[in-house]
Amino acid sequence: MSDRLDEGTGLEPLRAQRLGPLFWVCVGWLTLNVLAAIFANLLPLVNPLYQNYNVINAGPSLHHLLGTDDLGRDILSRVVFGSRVSLAVGSGAMVIGFGIGMPLGMLAAYRRGRLDAILTAVMYVLLAFPAIIAVIAVISFWTPRTLLKIIVVIGLASVPLVYRVIRSATLAIAAKDYVIAAKVQGSTDRRILVRELLPNIAPIAVSFLLIGVATVVTLEGALAFLGLSVNPPTPSWGNMINEARTVMAQNPWLVLFPSLALCLFLLCLNFIGDRLRTYFDVTEVKL
């Protein structure tokens, strides 16, 4: 009986479900993060590399809202500037991952046939790879390390995952009546892909994109923590936590603030991604 109840047009639950206030709080926090990272130079912040030896390992105060580190650098400023690395890697890697994986996945699912068979086989073999170890390996050999190389390596590593999600999403939609109708009308493949399929897989793509960014940012944080990301003194959340661990006993603030910034950022991304997924009623594999 419950089966019959669930049979709807698929549009009602979309409106019935609310995004909720917490969703907008998260959107607000993320926007604030992004704006602060972009306009960090214009904000009234101390230079993140400036070492003031008069205030070493100071706790939070009015002069230094989040305190200073063991070299007298302002933590607030370093947290804000450090977010640039996370955001650059997160968005850059996902641009590469979606830039390659999404067209391939859509094309494979729309065309089917041999192209689909070959691409899917290749991607599944790549997926079996422990991506994190491959990323660490390539980054450690491909010297000297730059932010761009890290973005490229992580981005390429994410292609098979993006491909898999987009392909299965497209498969479901390519069989819908309106796609067939468009085909009967004689629309070109390009038009069907861009005008019919793309708008309909966009919700899935967006929610997956957000969770993907969170995963990539976590990965970059772990790399930075291991000393395999951008070189100090350039601050990043990961390398701030890494540097702070040696003076953890004297100055716990040093560990807590970048950790908190990173966790809040990830929590917001995951929450928004998750909410969008239920909002658009998408049941899809996670990155």
């Binding site: 170890i133 491959a134 390996a137 010297t143 976590t218 772990a222 953890m248 929590l267």
Partner: protein, 316 residues
């Protein structure tokens, strides 16, 4: 069943081959002449000749691969020019620590996730379920390297509990009590990440299973709640859990790198990171090869387990 296993085995061999090509090629990602990068500019001609022979560097690249894979298949991963020890013996000394870490963390994760997921699934959207779901969602957003740092900060620095902090590691064979104490924080850290995954997967599968007709049937027969949960509902709900666990092992190893690095536990992760720091490229190559193959083999094993729990998978 046999056909299924053989087919999976063929895929496994293919993937291991590709991993070996990838690991082999890593050396050629180095800028310039690999011998100069590996040995440094002031290397003696004898060392250079030894490395050329070891890697077959003067041969064409395809032939180099076969020279290299020939050595690897004989258990010879080369000799590190930094520490003058064989890569294979370094790896052999390190990997039991990773195994211990994985076993301990997985025991903790399953011991926590399975009963809690079952409890949660019995009353979806009940108070416990809501609390656990919110808690696990929050934990999902905390990377392992932050969990371990915070744990160390609280347990070994603030509370001052002995043998839990950095460089307190003692091998299992020399003193198991101290060993387990020093492995506690890293195991808990890795267990937390796994727990969250397992809890979420098992909970949603249990909720789905409990709505099946055979559960209603079991209830109407008057079976006890416990028997229904463990004997009837658990097995059909655990397929996705096993799949997740298999995939999670790869992430677990990487998480292991982080905790080992922070606490100075000399497992593969710690060895890998120090090898990268000292440009010990042959050691890095060896560890990457061994760990990647290990992950793929573990995935294969869990795939196999899944098909044992749900034989339909192997018949498709």
């Amino acid at each position: 069943m046999l056909k299924y296993v053989l087919r999976r085995l063929a895929t496994l061999v293919g993937i291991v081959f590709i991993i070996s090509v990838g690991s082999f090629y890593l050396i050629h990602l180095l800028p310039g002449d690999p011998a100069t990068v590996i040995l440094g500019t002031g290397a003696s001609p004898a060392n250079r000749a030894a490395l050329y022979k070891q890697l077959g560097l003067n041969k064409p690249i395809v032939e180099q691969y076969f020279v290299w894979i020939g050595h690897v298949l004989h258990g010879n991963l080369g000799t590190s020019f930094i520490s003058q020890t064989s890569v294979a013996s370094t790896i052999r000394a390190a990997y039991p620590i990773d195994l211990e870490l994985i076993v301990l963390s997985q025991l903790l994760a399953f011991a926590g996730a399975i009963p809690l997921a079952m409890r949660s699934a019995r009353k979806p959207n009940g108070l416990l379920d809501r609390l656990l779901s919110a808690g696990s969602f929050t934990l999902l957003s905390i990377p392992p390297f932050i969990i371990i740092v915070v744990l160390v900060l609280i347990v070994s620095i603030k509370l001052g509990i002995a043998n839990t902090g950095p460089s307190s590691f003692v091998p299992l064979v020399s003193n198991w009590r101290v060993n387990l104490t020093s492995m506690a924080l890293p195991s808990i850290t890795l267990a937390t990440a796994s727990f969250v995954l397992y809890f979420r997967v098992l909970r949603s599968d249990m909720i789905a299973t409990l709505q099946e007709e055979f559960i209603t049937m079991a209830r109407s027969k008057g079976l006890s709640q416990r028997r229904i949960m463990w004997r009837h509902a658990f097995r059909p709900s655990s397929v996705a859990l096993l799949g997740t666990a298999g995939v999670n092992i790869g992430g677990l190893l990487a998480g292991g790198f982080v905790v080992q690095y922070l606490l100075g536990i000399p497992g593969l992760g710690y060895t890998l990171i120090s090898a990268i720091a000292s440009s010990d490229y042959l050691l890095v190559q060896g560890i990457v090869l061994v760990v990647s193959v290990g992950v793929v083999v573990i995935n294969f094993f869990f795939d196999f387990l899944t098909s044992v729990v749900d034989p339909r998978i192997s018949r498709e």
